[in-house]
Symmetry: C2
Subunit: 235 residues, 2 copies
């Protein structure tokens, strides 16, 4: 994509409140513009590009600050203590009431997405988000990279990306070595922090047991779920 | 179990409207009573047993007729034509509105329960029934036996039986060579007939695709779903 189309799209997303996706496009567009600017020999045109770069960098910086603020805790609005062996805590039960039409973007920080069951949990989470948030367009997942050759992560992430794209949702994976915090941030202002992240279910007794598919029947490991509401995140 | 406890339990279930389960216990109890009667040497006691056997056989016959009547079609109350490639037809979507607290027993006629995905479909169906019908106590599945050695069916059916028992639901498997009709009969009077039985979903693109878990996202094969209501079945 050209610098112009990247930046036009970035502004469009920015205005419609899809900040994280906009930020990514601002960065790509600025990079592209820098390249064009460097190659330009006409001094006047070069100057014009430079001023545009500064303008977009300022806006990107503002958006970045807005998104970073999403990490502030806000007001606590619910607390669930899941005791070891309890059931009835499917993602639907935990997330459903916050996943509304005003969610356009979701940020997921989950360090462990390497094993088959962990990637399955992510897929299930995305399925729920997709069915509950009619205006969802962007998901950003931050996790630790699986460096093993022919990792399940590679296969899983690319299948998920492809199938979400068919539903007009872009998913992006960001890799951080030292990630440890786990949280899900919805762009309508809700932040859900689960001590064990997405992986608080015990495995089913057998692949054909009740609970193999419907996680409301699954026994859970002990964990705390804290839900915060931060209306500033909506702006 | 002794004849007395089998038959006492049968009457208890019969009175509470759990007919299919009652029928099974009547049959077992009568068998047991026949054995006792045969071994009895005291003529008077023998006579008493014989009259009891006739009494229970008559009741069992009546219950059998009641249950057989469940197969009458009743009044058609909904019709869904699923076109090839359509999505949005999870079991939840199709069955949920009929699965209420007045369902105590479910009959499933599904010839094909041999392959992994077919047994998974049965498990998912049972999960839904369990979560929607608070008073469900008995499920009877009629299917074709998989005679291959170390069949998936054996493993699947015993895991499912075991895990349903933990939820106070008894499941029973009946094998019929020439079964071809497919239907689900709920003891509140609803009969759901799906041309392709439980297996009208296309496989997901990949094990990590959207739709791998939530069947509302799965593409379907063309099929017809007819729902009948037969209030007599409730009696």
């Amino acid at each position: 994509m050209s610098a112009v189309s990247l930046l036009t799209k970035a502004i469009e997303l920015d205005v419609s409140g899809r900040r994280i996706e906009a930020l990514k496009l601002y960065e790509e567009g600025i990079g592209e513009l820098l390249r064009v600017c460097k190659a330009e020999t006409n001094e006047e045109k070069k100057k014009h590009f430079q001023s545009k770069i500064v303008e977009y960098m300022n806006r990107a910086e503002e958006v970045k600050k807005l998104v970073q603020k999403w990490n502030t805790k806000g007001e606590i609005c619910d607390k669930i203590h899941v005791i070891d062996g309890a059931s009835g805590f499917s993602y639907r039960r935990v997330f459903e009431k916050y996943m509304k039409d005003d969610v356009k973007e979701i940020l997921i920080d989950e360090p462990y997405l390497k094993e088959h069951f962990q990637i399955c949990n992510l897929v299930m989470f995305c399925e729920l988000a997709l069915s509950k948030c009619k205006n969802l367009r962007y998901i950003k997942v931050t996790t630790i990279k699986d460096v093993r050759p022919s990792s399940e992560q590679n296969n899983g992430f690319s299948s998920l990306t492809e199938s979400l794209a068919k539903k007009s949702v872009t998913i992006n994976f960001d890799f951080h070595e030292n990630l440890h915090d786990r949280q899900v941030i919805l762009s309508n202002g809700y932040i859900i922090k689960i001590g064990r992240g997405l992986h608080y279910f015990k495995p089913p007794a057998n692949k054909y047991s009740i609970g193999a598919f419907d996680h409301n029947f699954r026994e859970c490991r002990e964990t705390n779920i804290d839900i915060f509401y931060c209306p500033e995140n909506k702006k």
